[in-house]
């Protein structure tokens, strides 16, 4: 029986992007469904009744919610090609740790950078750059967090790079000057089709952030 894979998503969502990259890495054909978050579809509400959020991966009619859980699921089901997580349990624990770090630090700090002003924004900027530097240190001399190949942590993190122009514009930041290694890593990821074809460019995301700021009256 052929697998039926559907992704409920919203194009600027870094969390949705993670699943897109994972599916592309594994060469899995899927149906992409764009959600209007102001008018959530009955399918989304049915598939994620607890959080009512995207992304939701639907495999043969069964939903998997939460982006990192979905990426692990994809890796475990399609385990015959392009492994995303390391095979060694200790390395796997480390990969999970760093993906969790990305979830805890990058999203929240980044959000402060483009949605707040004054002291709160300064604190957000500091947290954000510090987190990138911690990640740079973890990357070290490796081409990817996954080692020689793109892996779980790369997938968890690279989507946020699409938001960088937004963070720089509204946070008055120059991320490359603070974290050159990070930018080099991100550009390296974008040389892969699984990333470049799955993710929007920074200009498009900037446009989205501009619209959101107007909508929420942030100025």
């Amino acid at each position: 029986m052929a697998d039926e894979v559907v992704l409920l998503d919203f194009w600027p969502s870094p969390f949705g992007m993670r699943i897109r990259i994972a599916l592309a890495e594994k060469g899995i054909k899927y149906e992409y469904k764009e959600e209007d978050l102001r008018n959530k579809s009955p399918l989304l509400l049915q598939m994620n009744p607890v959080h009512k959020k995207i992304p939701v991966l639907i495999h043969n009619g069964k939903p998997i919610c939460e982006s990192l859980i979905a990426v692990q699921y994809i890796d475990e089901i399609w385990n015959d090609r392009s492994p995303l997580l390391p095979s060694d349990p200790y390395q796997r624990a480390q990969a999970r740790f760093w993906a969790d770090y990305v979830d805890k630090k990058i999203y929240e700090a980044g959000k402060k950078v483009w949605t707040t002003k004054g002291e709160e924004q300064e604190a957000g900027k500091k947290e954000f750059i510090e987190a990138l530097k911690v990640l740079e240190e973890e990357l070290g001399d490796k081409p990817y967090f996954g080692g020689k190949k793109l892996g779980y942590v790369d997938i968890a993190l690279v989507p946020f790079y699409t938001w960088f122009k937004g963070y720089e514009t509204f946070g008055n930041l120059n991320i490359e000057s603070e974290c050159p290694k990070f930018i080099a890593w991100a550009k390296r990821c974008f040389q892969k089709e699984s990333v470049s074809k799955s993710l929007p460019n920074q200009e498009k995301v900037l446009g989205f952030i501009v619209d959101m700021r107007k909508k929420f009256g942030i100025e």
């Binding site: 998997i64 979905a70 999970r96 740790f97 911690v134």
Partner: protein, 228 residues
């Protein structure tokens, strides 16, 4: 030194440390318990978890693994001969991880807020906790298939994640004179909580409520003083 070369950097008061202890007990693993007061944090802790500086940390042959959920999965993946903590089926595994995430994202912050918030704000957080309990009551009924635990016949990942918080839930109930884990509202959870507490992997490891209440009061005072 334990024969598996396992050290657990933890604290008796921490529900996250308790999660790891239960997992180690399920696998019948010996380990050295290293008690942290967190005041100050030991060199060992700062060295083995430099990023978050938090307990628990499991040291396996001196290699650190951090974050309770990640530690449990590590234990489950290394010691495969003993009862499984996560389901074998990938879909069920994803589902189990989802509920761990739900408990950590919804229940834990609300409980923390009740401990440290002003009286007026506490009410909102109590409602949040009650909502979580209602959801978990439903999950238990659907997942357990009439069996004792979320994991079925044996304690599983969700049981550990949720059960480890029960002692602190009692403390919060006691400190605020408001019960949430009540038979009238969540009968399946009340029964599950008793069965969980009695399980050989759990019994004797739960902190005493009275001792935890004292600890909670001291913690509240320290936090209040730090804010001023």
């Amino acid at each position: 030194m334990s024969k598996n070369d396992l050290k657990l950097v933890g604290g008796w008061y921490s529900p996250f440390v308790l999660r790891v202890q239960i997992a180690l007990n399920i696998k019948c693993l010996d380990y050295d318990n290293i008690e942290e007061t967190l005041n100050p944090k030991s060199d060992l802790l700062l060295h083995s978890n430099p990023v978050h500086k938090k307990i628990p940390v499991l040291l396996h042959a001196d290699q650190p693994i951090c974050e309770s959920g990640i530690i449990i999965q590590y234990i489950d993946e290394i010691w495969t001969n003993a009862p499984s903590i996560l389901p074998q089926n990938a879909y069920h595994r994803a589902n189990t991880r989802f509920w761990l995430s739900y408990i950590d994202d919804k229940l834990v912050p609300s409980m923390r807020n009740i401990l440290f918030a002003e009286d007026e704000a506490k009410k909102t957080h109590f409602v949040e906790v009650e909502e979580v309990l209602e959801v978990m009551e439903d999950v238990l009924k659907k997942q357990s298939d009439g069996k004792a635990f979320f994991g079925g016949d044996n304690i599983g990942f969700i049981d550990i994640a949720f059960g480890s918080l029960l002692s602190w839930l009692s403390v919060i109930e006691e400190l605020n004179g408001r019960k949430v884990l009540v038979e009238a509202k969540v009968p399946a959870l009340v029964k599950w909580a008793e069965t969980f507490a009695d399980d050989p992997a759990v019994k004797g490891f739960l902190p005493e409520t009275e001792k935890l209440i004292e600890y909670a009061k001291a913690l509240q005072q320290r936090v209040a003083a730090a804010i001023k």
